[in-house]
C-alpha cells in the first residue's frame, strides 16, 4: 500500500460497523483503515498505527469515546491526530449546522453513509 494513502482508525464496539467502514473506504483505494472494537485498546492502536484521523464511537461499553479523546489529547504524540465522533444519539439535523461540530468536536450522526465519512475526512484534513 502506498504511503500516500490516508490512514484512518475507526473505533466502534460494533464490529460490523467498523468492518463496513473499512470495506467502503479501502475500496476507494485512497484510505488505509484500521479498526478497533475495544475502547480501551484505542489509544494503543493509535500509537501503533499512527492514523491521520480517528473515528470514535461515543457510546461504547468499556470506554466512552470522549474518554479516549481525553487520553489522546494528553498524549503529546497523539494529540494532533484529528478526531471525529460517531454517535447514534445526536440526530443528523443537529450535526448538520455549524460544520458538524458540537462543543468544538466534529461529529457524524449514525446511521452514516460512506459519502458522509469521506466528506468529513476531506473537510478535517
Amino acid at each position: 500500500m502506498s504511503t500516500q494513502k490516508t490512514k484512518v482508525l475507526v473505533v466502534d464496539d460494533e464490529a460490523s460497523i467498523t468492518r463496513m467502514i473499512k470495506l467502503n473506504l479501502e475500496k476507494t483505494g485512497d484510505y488505509e483503515v484500521w479498526t478497533e472494537n475495544e475502547g480501551h485498546r484505542a489509544v494503543k492502536a493509535a500509537r501503533e498505527f499512527r492514523p491521520d484521523i480517528i473515528f470514535l464511537d461515543v457510546m461504547m461499553p468499556d470506554m466512552q469515546g470522549d474518554r479516549i479523546a481525553e487520553q489522546l489529547e494528553e498524549d503529546a504524540e497523539l494529540k494532533d491526530i484529528k478526531r471525529v465522533f460517531l454517535t447514534a444519539i445526536v440526530t443528523r439535523d443537529e450535526t448538520a449546522d455549524g460544520g458538524n461540530k458540537i462543543g468544538g468536536n466534529h461529529f457524524l450522526a449514525k446511521p452514516v453513509n460512506t459519502e458522509d465519512i469521506i466528506r468529513m475526512i476531506e473537510k478535517v484534513l
Binding site: E14, N24, K27, A88, T91, D93, P111
Partner: protein, 611 residues
Amino acid sequence: MRYRPIQTVGGGKGAGRRHRQPLRPGYRVRIVSAYILLLLLSLPGAAIATPDPSLHLTQTETAWLEEHPELVLAPAADFAPYEFFDDKDSYRGVAADYIALLEQRLGVHFRIVRLADETARLQAIVSGDIDLVAAVTADSPLARAVRLTQPHINIPGVIVAKSEYRNLRALQGRRVAVADGALHFDAGTAPDDIELVPVQDVTTALELISEGRVDALVTDMATASYYIHREGMTDIRIVGKTGTTLSLAVGVRRDRPQLLAIMEKALGSITGSERQRLARQWIHLKEPSLLYSRSFWVAMLAVAAAILLVLVSILLWNRMLKRQVAQRTESLNLELRRRHEAEQELRDTHADLVNSHHELKQTQLQLIHAAKMESVGELAAGVAHEVKNPLAVIRLGMDYIAGEIHSDPVLGDVLKDMGAAVQRADTVTNGLLDFSREGALSRQEACINEIIENSLHLVRHELVQRNIDVVRSLDSNLPMMSCDANRMQQVFVNLFMNAIQAMKKYGTITVSTYQSMVKEEHGMQAAPGIRFESGQPVIVAEVCDTGPGVPVGALEKMFDPFYTTKPVGEGTGLGLSVIRNIVGLHRGAIEVKNRVPKGLSVMIMFDNKEY
C-alpha cells in the same frame, strides 16, 4: 293673753241674736225668737231638756241638768274675737259659738248676763250669781276662782307685720309691739335684737304699725285676724309664729263639780271638724305663706337638693351606662374589625393556599412530565443507539453493495427501497430523540413570518407533488419574537407535513399570523405550568387545511406521543407531541379545532409582550 282689761264694746241698742240680755229692757221679743230658732235647730230632738245620749252622762249628771235647766254665763265684755257683745248687744265670738253648740248638746239654756268688768265677773262667780265663764286663760285671776275644763280653744300665737316683712328674720332689729297681757314669744322663737314695745291693746298696736312707729305685733292668730279684718288693714300679714298657744277653757263655779264634769264631757264631744268650722268663722288670716318660711325653704332646698342629687345620680349613672355602652360598643367594634381582619387573612391565606395548591399541582405535573421525559429521554437515547447502529451497518453495507452491482437495475431498485426504509427508521428515531429532548433553546430575535416561509420552502416539493395550494395571510406588523428558529421551523414543517398528509392530494393550506387576545382558555393545550388567561394578548400562527379533520374523540389524544391517524408507515406519531414540546419551551399553547365544513385548524399562540 293672760288677761285683758275689760273694755266696753258696742252699744246697748240691739238684742242678742239668741239670748236676751235680761238686765236690759226691750229684749223679750228677741229672746222669744231666739227660743224659736233654738227649737228649730233642736229638731228633730223632742225636748230641749234632753241631753245628747252620745255624751254618756251619768244619771246623776242628767238629773243635775234636769234640776238646773238654766245656767247663767257671764262673758268678758270685750274679748274679741273670743267673746264680746256686738253692736246689737248680742253675745258673739268663738266662745259664743261653742256655748251655742253646748246648749244644743246638753239641752240646757245658758242665760247670758253682761257684767261691767272682770272684777264684777269675779265677784259674780264667787258669789254664785253666775254659773260659768266661757273663755278663760289658765293664768288669769278669774281662773283661780273657778274650776277649769280642758282648754277647748287653742289658737297659735303669731307675729304680724306689714307685708314688706316677709319673715321673722326680716324683723331683726325692728320694734315689735306686745299688747298688754298678750302672748309672748316662745323661748328661742323671737328674732334677735328686736325691741319689744308694750302697748295697751291690739288696736293700739295696729295703729302704731300703720303709723310706722312699730313694725310688728305679737298676738294670737284669731285676734290678729279679727282686728286686721275689722280695721281693713290689707297690707298686714302674718310673718311668723311665736311657738306659743293661746288656750281658753270653760270656767265653772267651784261648788258645781257636776257641771264641770258635764262641761268636760260636752266639750269633749265636739269633734275636730266642728272645732275647725268654728275657728274658720273667726280666723280669716292665713298662716304665713310657706314661701316666706325659712324652714319651708330649708325643706324645699333639702327636697330640691335630694331631687337634684337623684337627678345628678341618674345623670351620672346614665353617663356611666352610656360610657359603658360606648366602651362595650367600641370593644365590640374592635372585635368585629379584628374578626373581619382575621376573616380577610383567612381568605387571603385560603387564596394563597389555593394558589399554592395550584402551583404545586402544576409543579407536580411538571415534575411528572420531567420524570416522564427523563425516562423517555433515556429510552429514546437507548433506542436511538440500538436502532441507529444497525441502520449504520445496513447503510454502509448498501454503500458497499451499490459499488458491486454494476448498474443492475433490479438490484438498484432494491437498494433504493432499502435506503428509504433505513431513512424512515432513522426519521422515527430522530423524532423520538427530538421529543425527548427538552433542552435549552438557542434563542434569538426572529420573525415568525420568516420561519413560516422557510418551512414552506422545505416542504415545497411535497406541495407541488400533491397539488396543494398555499394561501398566506401573514401580519406584516407582527412583532419580533425571541425564539429558537430551528426548533420553530421544526414545528411548522411538522404542521405543514401533517396538513399535506391529511389532504393527500389537492387542497389548500391557509397559513395566517396575527395579533389577538385569548378568548377562552378552554380547548387550549399548553405544556404543564403554562397558563393563558382570558384577555391576554397573544401572537397567533394558524395553519388550516382542507383535509378530513380529526374525529372528535381523537382531538384530545392528538398530543399523546405515538398517536397518529396516518396509515402505518406514513406518520411517526411524534409530530404533534414534538410540536407541543417545542411550543411549550417557548411558553406557548396550541389549540386544535375541526373546521366547518371540513379541515383542521391548528393555532399556536405565544405571549405577546409587545402589549
